[in-house]
Every structure is written in C-alpha cells, then in structure tokens.
C-alpha cells in the first residue's frame, strides 16, 4: 500500500509558515557546518517547551528529551480524571499536543521493514512530525530504528533521489542488507552507505559503500533523504552515540537542513 503524507499537512509546518516558530532554514548560522556535530549545535540553539499536564509527573517524558533544546515543565491536573497530555510549544505558541498514553506507546515503536504496511503507523508518524527538530537524548537503538524506518520508508515510496545512511560501523549494515538490496534493486534511488571498515559487505547493486575512518563516522548514526522528485518528503536523522547505546540527536523535515547535511556528506566523503 502506498501512503503519502506531505510535510505541509502537519500543524507544525503550517505554524511555521504563519510566522509562529523558529525557522531553522533561516537561522543565522546558515549551516556553516564543518562537522556533523555542528549540525547538532545549530538545532540545539533553537529552544521549545514541552508541558506535561497530568495528575502525577511522569519522569519518562523529561528523561527522553534534552533540556538544552526543550524545557520540560509539569502542570498538575486533579487526580482520577481524563487522561493527561503533553503540549509542545515554540516561542510560547502552541504547535501540537499528544495524549500521554499515546506518547508512551509511540516511544516503543515496532521494528519493521520499509515495504511492510503498518496498521499502527499513524501514531508514530504523528510523533515524528511533532518532534521534528527536537533534540532527543538517551534514545536507544530500537527507538531510533523507528525513526530510521520512517526515512527509509519515505525513500522507498518516492523511489527517486539520494539516500545517505551512516551505520557507524559497516558491520551494522549486516542485519540490514536485505533492506538495502531491495532499495537498490526496486527503486531508482542513489544510495550511499557510510561506516568504519570493520567488515566489508558484499557488493550490493546500486548501493555505494563508503568505508571511512573519520571518528565522526564511527560515532554518528545518520540517514538523509533529499526527497527526490518530491522535495517535501526530504527528511534526515542525525544521532550521536555519546555513551554506549545512548543516542543524542534530532530528526528533521526541514528541506534546507536536509540539503545541508547531504551537501556536507557528499563534499566531505565524496559523491
């Protein structure tokens, strides 16, 4: 089944157009990034708030989002009433809200392949759009796989354009070979895979392997898809493994930011 959802349908995107929030594409830094870490710093500089409205304060919300980019507040509600919720604001303006129960469910996404249909995908996709450009902290590999699959899924559905994927170590590609074989064989995507050369995968048709020894390639997990013929589907994930199995980073639908990450990767590590 083919499902498409353009970024313009999200409340956040329209809030941006109406002048509410920040515009990463217009931030003064201008993506003068010289390392992958610079992209993280730029996104960190924009600050939003998450307000948790609930009878008891759930610590897991604050635990999952970085305090430097997002301030997490709690406002108490009387006990034993309707379920609590979370409001995302930027510059004091409402961007979106989600029920606490739904948020909790979404933070434990199922693992799936890009071409599998997901009856439960709407929730995950909604969160993906809600938290666009929000710094996350201490996400584990499984939680990030949900976001990674969202990007592979978009690339799969659009079928054109460039997808760049950093696995940290090329051996991490081993369990994903089937995914990339199909992406290479069944789409017109230009696919680049990066990683430290601890294992040399067999050649995958239409997939260019970049064995790189730069330290950032070993510490960052990333995916960047330029949207191909549908630029509104551009998206990227950039996550730094700061301690074993604890990732810190962001994902974004900002076309300019995705373009800057793509440009950085191709100029630094070759086309």
């Amino acid at each position: 089944m083919v499902r498409r959802r353009a970024r313009g349908t999200s409340g956040k995107a329209s809030a941006r157009r109406s002048g509410g929030g920040r515009r990463l594409g217009h931030c003064p830094v201008g993506f003068g990034a010289v390392t992958l870490a610079d992209f993280l710093d730029d996104v960190e500089a924009a600050r939003g708030t998450i307000t948790v409205y609930s009878d008891e304060q759930p610590t897991w919300v604050a635990d999952q989002f970085e305090a430097r980019n997002v301030a997490v507040h709690h406002e108490p509600l009387p006990p034993n009433g309707p379920p609590g919720f979370v409001v995302f604001r930027e510059g004091g303006e409402f961007l979106a809200s989600i029920g606490l129960r739904e948020l909790r469910k979404i933070l434990a996404p199922p693992i799936r392949r890009p071409w599998q249909d997901r009856p439960d995908s709407t929730g995950y996709r909604t969160l993906f759009e809600l938290l666009d450009d929000t710094i996350f902290t201490a996400f584990d590999r499984r939680q990030l796989l949900g976001a990674a699959r969202e990007i592979e899924d978009r690339a799969w559905r659009v079928g054109t354009g460039t997808l760049r994927v950093g696995f940290q170590r090329l051996s991490a590609m081993w369990s994903q070979v089937e995914v990339y074989e199909r992406l290479g064989a069944e789409t017109a995507l230009s696919i680049h895979v990066y990683g430290r050369p601890d294992w040399v995968p067999a050649a995958v048709p239409n997939v260019r392997i970049h064995a790189e020894t730069a330290p950032e390639i070993g510490s960052f997990w990333f995916l960047a898809f330029d949207g191909g013929s549908e630029p509104q589907n551009a998206c990227a994930l950039l996550a730094e493994e700061r301690s074993p199995e604890a990732f810190y980073g962001f994902w974004t639908y900002d076309e300019d930011l995705v373009g800057a990450i793509e440009a950085y990767l191709s100029s630094t590590y070759g086309r």
Binding site: G11, A96, S97, I98
Partner: protein, 125 residues
Amino acid sequence: MPSDGNSLDGLPLLDVDDEVFLALADQSRRMALYYLRIRDRVDVETLADVVTGWSAAGRHGTATRADRDRLLTALRVRHLPLLAAAGLVDYDRTAGTVAVERLAEPVRTLLDAAYAWEGDRNAVD
C-alpha cells in the same frame, strides 16, 4: 434522571437551573471548568491550549495548531459567553482572561461527578 447515579444521590438538582445543565452538556466547556477550578485567572489562549490537548487525549490522541485555533475561536464566540451567562465564569473580553466564579454546592458536586465519570470512561483497561 439516572436512578443509579450514586454520586448524585441527595443532590438538590432542582436548584441547578437549565442554563447550567446546558453549559455542562459540552465537553470543551466541562474541560475548561475543570482547569479553571484549579487555577486563578487564566488567559484565553492558554485555556485553548489546555482544552485542545485534554479533549484530544481521550480520543484520537493528537491535536494540531489548526485544531487549537478553531477551539480558541469557539471559546471566544460561543463557550465562554455561554459559561458567563450561566454564572459559572467571569470572562473579561478586553483583557482576554477568564476565571471561575464561586460555584454553588450543587454545581460543584455535579462537576466533581462529571470529572470522575470522564476519568472512569477513559480508564486503562
């Protein structure tokens, strides 16, 4: 009147006039009252954020900026004037703020019962 409404037993409902029942018949207005009861004066924009998020949490879960803007308009043109006419809130249109009025005992009991009922209805099964 429900005969099994334990929490409403002994409540002099005849002392509650129809305007109040009409005011409480709408979920957005009930949510607004629940929130106002635990806060001092609130600005209408903040109230719209809360009522939007809280109402959605029990249903499809998420709400967008457009949902919130629609609710803000509905609060201003419909819900708050109606709550004010029923004597439940003090709505200052000029300042864009609202506060709950001192509620009569039967109305407080009715709101407590409605709050508990909406909590039970959404309890995790």
